[in-house]
Amino acid sequence: MEVKRVLVVDDEVTFTSLVKLNLEKTGQFTVREVNDPLKALTAAREFKPDIALLDVIMPGKDGGQVLAELRAEFTGLPVIFVTATMTQRGLHQRDDQINGVPFIAKPVEAKKLIKRIEEVLED
């Protein structure tokens, strides 16, 4: 099975480290952590991700701005937004998406995150 490249953009170092650890131990993913959203585009150019996990609110640049930059160069790049601004319950009531964009609430369970990534990559 082809190893998928996951770009994780989040200013929380602990979060990106945990995502990297949990995803890479499955052997299905390789992960690039970016903790400064201003560096997301440069990292994406080097890494050429199959999918991006983006925090919504980050200092300096928010997830929407990062997505706009990424999509300008990587058309159709699948994205999952990760947010602590809503509860799991609140997002679940909206089928875990807002405006058709997949969302996942923090704190994130590794199994749930992996399942969500697989679902989005299959779409």
Binding site: G64, Q65, F81, R89, G90, F103
Partner: protein, 142 residues
């Protein structure tokens, strides 16, 4: 009953003018009418408030992910920040302050003038929460 509610709301507005507004300036301080939306009898149900915060976060998240944050979005962010302060959620207050600060810096004009206010919340969220919780206490006495 209508008159009584109006009187209560005037008192609440005056309290804000003496507290949040003086501390945080006009934009962050003039929270009462847009943010608290006091409804006699049920507003201070914290569970209800948390549910409402979830609901009200949706259009803000939609604007952010579409990269279409406009001044009304900033007003909504301000509302969410205050709501989260009333629930005592320091991390959430900081998140919304960060979101507001990012965009206030970009907008220029009147919103650029609010940058120090967002920074003030970021630098001392505890004080901001304290004011909000004082409001909660005040409302509970009504």
């Amino acid at each position: 009953m209508q008159i009584a509610n109006e009187t209560i709301q005037q008192e609440i507005a005056a309290t804000f003018n003496n507290g949040l507004r003086l501390r945080y300036g006009d934009v962050l301080g003039s929270l009462y009418s847009e943010v608290v939306r006091y409804r006699a009898g049920n507003f201070m149900d914290i569970d209800e408030l948390r549910t409402e915060l979830d609901t009200e976060a949706v259009p803000v998240l939609r604007d952010i992910l579409n990269n279409k944050v406009q001044p009304p979005t900033l007003h909504a962010i301000r509302s969410l920040m205050i709501g989260c302060a009333i629930t005592g959620d320091r991390d959430a207050v900081l998140r919304w302050a960060t979101a507001g600060l990012n965009r206030a810096r970009q907008f220029g004009g009147e919103w650029a003038a609010t940058v120090p206010q967002w920074e003030s919340v970021q630098n001392d969220p505890g004080r901001f929460i304290l004011y909000a919780r004082q409001l909660k206490y005040f409302l509970q006495q009504l």
